[in-house]
Amino acid sequence: MSNLQLIKRLYRGKTCYSDALSEEELELLQLPSGVDVIVEQMVSEGRIVFLTGNPGDGKTFIIRTARKKRPHLYVISDLNSISDTQMDEEIQRLLNCYHNHIPCIVAANEYPFLSLLRKLAAIAPDFHKELLGVKQNTTILNYPTVQLGRICVVDLNDRSLLDKERSIVKLTVDKFIVLLQDSLGSNSYLDYNIRALSDSLVLQQYIKIFSLISLTGEHFAIRDILGTVAYSFTACTFEDADVSWGYYYDAIFSGDNDLMKIATNFDPILLSKPSLDERLWNGELVDGWRLGAPEKWPYEIEEDVEQAVNLFKSIKRKFYFENELSKGLEDLQPVDYNECEKILISIRSKNKEIKRRLIRSMNKLFLSSDMECDRLRVWTTHGFDLSREFGAAVSTRYIDGADLELTFPEPVKWLDRLEYTPSYIVLRHKKKDLRKTYLKIDLDMLKTLIAIEKGYPVALLSTQYEQKLTQFLHGLCSARLAKDYSYGEAILSNRREGTCKKISIEDDKYELSVGGTL
């Protein structure tokens, strides 16, 4: 099989993967991964390594790598394929490994792993307890709660291979460019794609698309990533290829795997800048093209509007990836995604500033005119009729922003080589014994808070985050960590109108004329 055929197979279906590839082919596709190093270390220390993850996450690759050094390593390569009767035998072997310090690797998808856990709970409670503890603590918030013992779990669901810093996209592109050298000259589109993706600007823009995809919070298996890159290069060589997807910049938005479907959300054709669009249509933009300006422009196709529009779309994508002036277009990618990325990138360096921004947005959830950013107000909405929105909220206390920390999960120390990007950040109280009470701000919630910050009407948002935030705040209240406002101040909010009334309740007396704004 030629390298071109091998790469094409990566896009085609789930059966064309590691199990079906020869050692030589696997060797060609091997990408360095931190997980290999982790597994090697754990095995060398005699541990039982559970590799959990999904089909296509690269478990077989990892096992093959580990076995190269240790051909006799005991491995259960797919827990799913083991029958119930075999399972009992395998568990006994595992227990034997466990008690006799014999290393082994067990690869399992999520559900079979859950089934195994249940069986172990009955048969081997100690093993079960240790395994469950390690599994639930592969990522931590600042300090470990479980010590590594005889068992370790490498959860490939936690592996993020798309974001800017950890991206394997560049490695994959580089590898494919090398592998495809022997096909140069066989297809003009393929030649072009190889040349284009060797360019630093193009590669940067290409990686940026994957980076935006990573901000959707979806987990993509390595299979999807390799398939997408493979298709970008080779769509033009498929028998059923439509010439209009021949170029990498069209192909990446035309494939049908899960990752490419998400990619369509970031297709440059969705970004509109009228003056630019006009120049691109009329062929007036001739500067800044790294690989040469388009040979034909939409305005030249007078007889077929659809054809002209399709050409325009293609040119716009080409512009996005290949033109030095494309920055303006790139900035039009959805604001919440761009902001989300900025927050995640700078969460360490600008921690306080980000915390204040998020606190302000959270306060605005309950009172749109509230600009408070140093105190997270404890708002209470209460009622029993779920067919109505809560029109009023009350706040008599707050959590001092200085008492809160904004952090994010990280892999435990022994997994620090894992390509990990947090899929959520966490707001919690600094008090140590309360660290289980935290607000998990996933990417969707983060985008929502950004939207509120930008003035998006809260009334149009789902109430799900309000409920989540309220539960967090009231949890802190129950732990007596909220402080009363000075002078017994109470704020009553009319959420529909964004107005409020402040009163004071001190020594069981009302004062209705409390001055000052929020």
Partner: protein, 497 residues
């Protein structure tokens, strides 16, 4: 006999409600009334809060106490009464009304008003719209199972004792004007005498698991959340009981409750609407079955022979009827007409009279407040049915996120929730407990809908939409941090995922 005695209302209707344990004949029953009823029965206390009520009814309402009068009457609650302005108080009362009357249950007349309940201080005496639901639920919760009552009761009582929440804080200066002994009154509680049937057992088990899971989630100290969760489940329990009792008492087929995740899937919307409609029909069917059973008990006494068409016709002619607006002869004529019609269709006379009396009950006694209407209202307000609003065309089991969460916490034992379970297993739990279906198993769920004659009336793509709906439900759980989806489509539900 009282000349106003109406056999439909005072005999059949009353016996029906007694048999059910509550009166599902009001379309003004709201979750807050259920809360008031349940919490009063659970604590055995009510609170006298006429003064707070005066504040809460703002001056935009007719018959509200003018703020100027309040300033005089409550001069001791202000730190500097001279400085307070009428306009300020008016504004505050407007806000207080929004806080304490979120569900439109506060009226100018204190007797019929229930204010938003955040603590023991806000529990009101019995109001008609409670429909006896408090007692019904309390009896289920108080039943000794393995020597103990439901842990939900303790949670509720503890939550009500906490009165430092933001809502209660707002009215503390008014509350402390009177000593606690003057405010809180004990109410006489009759000993419980529950007949525990299977539907009640299911409800009790749900309350118990929900209470245990609230503790597991570390939410027992959050008094307002505890109240909201348990009252939300109470609303579901009442709905469930109504739709399930015909199965429990008369072995009618159980109704699959297809929850709509709100993805806009046409077949799901249609089937879920069919589920909801079947629930309402089940209540009607229960009424018929109950009447048949009840009238059978009159055999040889008031009805000479229940198998005789003539004897039953005589009975219909003998029953006392009374109606304020409609001529009773007209009502009797309609009953007889329906009776004869059913007999002609081959129904047994006893069945025919049960059917015709059910029709008369729903048409003349509860024209706007049938048990079916009750299902509609409680379903919508309890977050089980939707869309909200009386103009909504296709009302279905459009589950609210909060109700869904509580349902799930009511079917899974805490240990299992900690350990995690797969979405398909959650589907099994929901089916086993309430025959709630979410689409986790296409074949099983589809056949349940087909057996209930719901699937046949929906577009062809129902089978494929079921799994999409299940993913929609999973998305809701993921957003609640109660589930995690993996790339191969497996979704694990649990508190530690």
């Amino acid at each position: 006999m009282n000349k106003n005695f109406d056999t439909l209302r005072d005999e059949y209707g009353a016996k029906l409600c007694m048999e059910l344990g509550f009166l599902p004949t009001s379309n003004s029953t709201k979750p807050l009334y259920i809360a008031n009823a349940l919490l009063r029965e659970s604590t055995g206390r009510i609170c006298e809060m006429q003064d707070v009520h005066k504040w809460v009814v703002s001056e935009r309402r007719a018959k509200a106490t003018p703020s100027k009068e309040l300033l005089d009457e409550f001069s001791t609650v202000f730190s500097d009464s001279g400085a307070e302005k009428v306009e300020e108080l008016q504004e505050v009362r407007f806000y207080l009304e929004r806080v304490f009357n979120p569900d439109s249950t506060v009226h100018p007349d204190y007797t019929f008003s229930v204010m938003n309940i955040s603590s023991k201080w806000l529990i009101h005496p019995y109001v008609k719209a409670e429909a006896g639901i408090g007692r019904f639920l309390f009896e289920i919760l108080n039943e000794q199972i393995n020597g103990t009552s439901s842990p939900a009761l303790e949670l509720l009582r503890a939550a009500l004792q906490q009165d430092d929440d933001d809502i209660t804080r707002l009215i503390k200066p008014i509350i402390i004007r009177k000593p606690e002994a003057e405010r809180l009154k004990k109410i006489p509680l009759e000993p419980t005498s529950i007949s525990f049937n299977q539907s009640k057992r299911v409800i009790r088990a749900g309350f118990d698991r929900l209470a245990k899971n609230i503790v597991l989630l570390g939410q027992a100290e959050d008094s307002l959340l505890v109240l909201r969760r348990l009252v939300c489940f109470a609303s579901f329990a009442v709905f469930f009981y109504l739709e399930d009792i015909n199965h429990t008492e008369f072995a009618a087929p159980k109704i699959p409750l297809l929850l709509d995740a709100g993805l806009g899937l046409g077949a799901i919307e249609s089937a879920s609407s069919g589920s909801f409609l079947s629930c309402k029909k089940a209540v009607e069917a229960y009424t018929i079955n109950f009447l048949e059973k009840y009238l059978t008990g009159l055999n040889g006494q008031y009805i000479l022979d229940i198998n005789s068409k003539k004897a039953i016709e005589d009975y219909i002619n003998s029953i006392a009827l009374h109606h304020k607006k409609i001529d009773v002869d007209e009502i009797r004529r309609v009953i007889l007409q329906h009776y004869n019609g059913y007999c002609e269709k081959g129904e047994a006379p006893i069945r025919a009279i049960a059917r015709s009396l059910q029709f008369a009950l729903y048409t003349y006694t509860y024209p706007n407040n049938t048990p079916s209407d009750f299902c509609n209202v409680i379903g919508k307000r309890g977050g089980l049915a939707g869309p909200a609003g009386s103009a909504a065309k296709q009302v279905r089991l459009l589950i609210h996120r909060f109700t869904l969460e509580n349902l799930i916490l009511s079917v899974i034992e805490p240990e299992r929730l900690q350990e995690g379970l797969e979405l398909r297993e959650l589907g099994e739990y929901l089916r086993d407990s309430y025959l709630v279906i979410i689409g986790t198993d296409n074949d099983v769920d589809y056949s349940l809908l087909a057996n209930a004659k719901i699937a046949q009336d929906t577009p062809e793509n129902l089978r494929s939409e079921l799994s999409q709906n299940a993913q929609g439900i999973a998305d809701m759980l993921i957003s609640l941090d109660l589930a995690k989806r993996y790339a191969d489509g497996v979704t694990i539900i649990g508190t530690e995922v």
